[in-house]
């Protein structure tokens, strides 16, 4: 079930429902970002081995591929969370009945809040100490990419996951259903 598949009644439910739809769309935007990172990695790597027979190489290609890979992973953190691409095991919760589903839903939100809360709490420390630049990842102006930019997507995702978790708790309180997917990626 996605935000586009359930109904809401009353002002409060409708407001929360709208927020849920926005979160869902934002997840789509982050998937788009991830895809873009992946396509860029794909192109850069393809270029690397296509031009090699001509004794050509550009030293910035590899460092940028790595930056894109990091961004793909970190932007993907929010995307896969809100779009339910991660693996979860329903068996036990289903055995426990409707209460089991509600309790595990709340647990998941709390776990997400705890992890992302800690990440956000140490954000200033991380920004202060990750000085320096990513070797070889040059920008059009000739400077290299500051190292902080590697982790920033992680913190953006952590912030958005926290908001999503709070939103789902709000949904529980006003009696809206949980978003679920039938997707089983990863092996």
């Amino acid at each position: 079930m996605t935000p586009h598949e359930y109904q809401s009644n009353g002002a409060l439910q409708r407001a929360i429902h709208r927020a849920d739809k926005i979160g869902w769309s934002l997840g789509g935007a982050f998937i788009f970002l991830c895809n873009l990172c992946m396509l860029m990695m794909f192109l850069l790597t393809a270029i690397t081995f296509l031009i090699r027979p001509f004794d050509l190489s550009a030293y910035w290609i590899w460092p940028w591929t790595m930056v894109l890979f990091v961004w793909l992973s970190f932007f993907g953190f929010f995307a896969m969370y809100v779009r339910l691409k991660d693996v979860r095991m329903d068996l036990v919760a289903e055995k426990l009945g409707p209460m089991g589903m509600q309790a595990t839903r709340l647990l998941t939100n709390l776990v997400a809040l705890a992890i992302c809360g800690v990440l956000l709490k140490v954000f200033p420390t991380v920004m202060a100490t990750s000085s320096g630049f990513v070797d070889g990842a040059i920008l059009p102006n000739g400077h290299e990419l500051p190292r902080q930019f590697l982790s920033i997507p992680l913190f953006i995702s952590a912030a958005l996951i926290s908001v999503s978790a709070l939103l789902d708790i709000a949904k529980m309180l006003v009696g809206l259903p949980e978003n679920v997917s039938m997707h089983h990626p990863e092996a």
Binding site: N35, P185, A187
Partner: protein
């Protein structure tokens, strides 16, 4: 500490928490209980360390290659060719199912692409021919174990990075074991055919074999191209992944089956699957840091060493342990936790790291086919429209050839090490 780590992790998995959060929460909890509870900035720092690893950039492309095969018609052609070759045998389509997986494995690096893409075709064909759905689904899951053994393989890339072995060496090491698993499954199906009355198909005419062979030829040489170009050093493992994708795209054009929408869907599936794996890796590396600085693996190693000094006894304990972990923990996180913990032990008992990598890969892969974290079972029950409980029962006999192969591979190290030693020379160089 280890109890806390594993305990909280497994409890959360059972309570329907997404797996990446389970591993994150277990890590966080362990951090809070350790001497480093005031140094939580290590968590995001090590997460970055985890995803900022050059050798892991191969992961998204080996996933994408599998997904692209499924949307470009390459998968169907592999299936048709395997059908023309072995479809007439006893339990023909079951044999086709296994052989297809072996061919598919040469391009794809992930078992899940096998179950979801090839599996959908296989189960449909088998059901239409009159096979029971649960049996068809079970063969599909069991044979998907072959995918990550025969190179290329995501699991081997991750192991190579963890154990500081070269990716090429690990790829070569998995090839023969992958074929052995395939053959053992084929033998098992042949034996099962004695007692069961499986539907039969007429033998394909030479013309049909040639026809499907011509159709599938381009798909069939792909594994050779990919493995060959890695071995001969034209490309790195990551570039080989890209090469595989490019090749699938070209075939898709050639077959006229590639559309922009299919391509974009394949990219989305792959990037999300990559994100899940990488976030799991990110949290695991943070956990690995904590284990390392607390010197936990060394402590565990001393503990086990006190139990037995016999290498063979240790190996037996090892495979039981790995099979157990594989039942409850997904392959990637399981490797991330187990490899750093077990390596000191493996070294101490004088077990080859390459050999250990193959044991661990197969051992954990069998977990795909076992409840509760049997991802393969979920997927085939979905794509094949078979009830999960029935597949779970139908898979049980297939554990005999799978575990049999594992025992064989465990006690005959040469099956794994012979080929890489022959081609790359005896191991002298660590992965750095």
């Amino acid at each position: 500490m280890a109890y806390l780590l594993f305990g909280s992790f497994i409890a959360l998995i059972l309570l329907r928490v997404p797996i990446s959060l389970c591993i994150g929460a277990a890590t966080l909890l362990t951090f809070l209980m350790s001497d480093f509870s005031s140094a939580l900035q290590i968590l995001p720092q090590q997460m970055l360390e985890g995803v900022n690893k050059a050798s892991l950039t191969a992961v998204p492309f080996f996933i994408l290659a599998g997904n692209l095969m499924n949307v470009t018609g390459v998968t169907e052609r592999i299936f048709a060719f395997a059908n023309a070759l072995v479809g007439h045998m006893k339990a023909g389509l079951a044999q086709v199912n296994i052989l297809s997986s072996m061919i598919f494995a040469g391009i794809s690096g992930a078992a899940v692409a096998d179950c979801a893409g090839l599996g959908a075709i296989e189960i449909k064909a088998m059901k239409e021919a009159g096979y029971r759905g649960d049996f068809s689904a079970a063969v599909t899951v069991a044979s998907s174990v072959i995918g990550p053994l025969i190179p290329p393989s995501i699991g081997m890339v991750i192991y190579a990075f963890l154990a500081q072995q070269s990716i090429e060496r690990m790829f070569l090491a998995g090839l023969v074991p992958g074929i052995i698993v395939g053959l053992s499954l084929m033998i098992y199906v042949r034996i099962a055919a004695i007692r069961n009355d499986f539907p039969t198909q007429p033998r394909a005419t030479t013309q049909q074999v040639l026809h499907s062979g011509r159709d599938g030829f381009l798909a069939l040489i792909a594994p050779g191209i990919i493995l060959g170009s890695i071995m001969f050093g034209f490309v790195t493992a990551t570039e080989a992944g890209v090469l595989a994708c490019v090749y699938c795209l070209i075939l898709g054009f050639w077959y006229g089956e590639l559309t922009w929408a299919k391509f974009w869907n394949a990219i989305t599936d792959s990037s999300m699957m990559t994100a899940v794996i990488m976030i799991i890796i990110a949290f695991s590396i943070a956990m690995g840091w904590l284990l390392a600085i607390e010197q936990a693996p060394q402590a565990i190693a001393e503990h086990v060493f006190a139990l037995t000094e016999n290498k063979n006894v240790f190996l037996a304990l090892l495979i039981v342990f790995i099979l157990f972990v594989g039942c409850v923990v997904e392959g990637v996180p399981a490797k991330l936790i187990l490899v750093p913990t077990l390596l000191p032990l493996v070294d101490a008992y004088g077990i080859d790291r390459v050999h250990f990598g193959v044991i661990m890969s197969l051992g954990l892969l069998i977990g795909i086919a076992t409840p509760p974290m049997g991802i393969g079972l979920y997927i085939v029950s979905e794509v094949g429209r078979v009830r999960l409980e029935r597949v779970t029962v139908a898979i049980l006999p297939f554990l005999i050839p799978l575990i049999g192969s594992l025992i064989l591979i465990t006690y005959l190290p040469a099956i794994s090490t012979f080929l890489p030693d022959l081609i790359l020379g005896p191991d002298a160089m660590s992965g750095r």
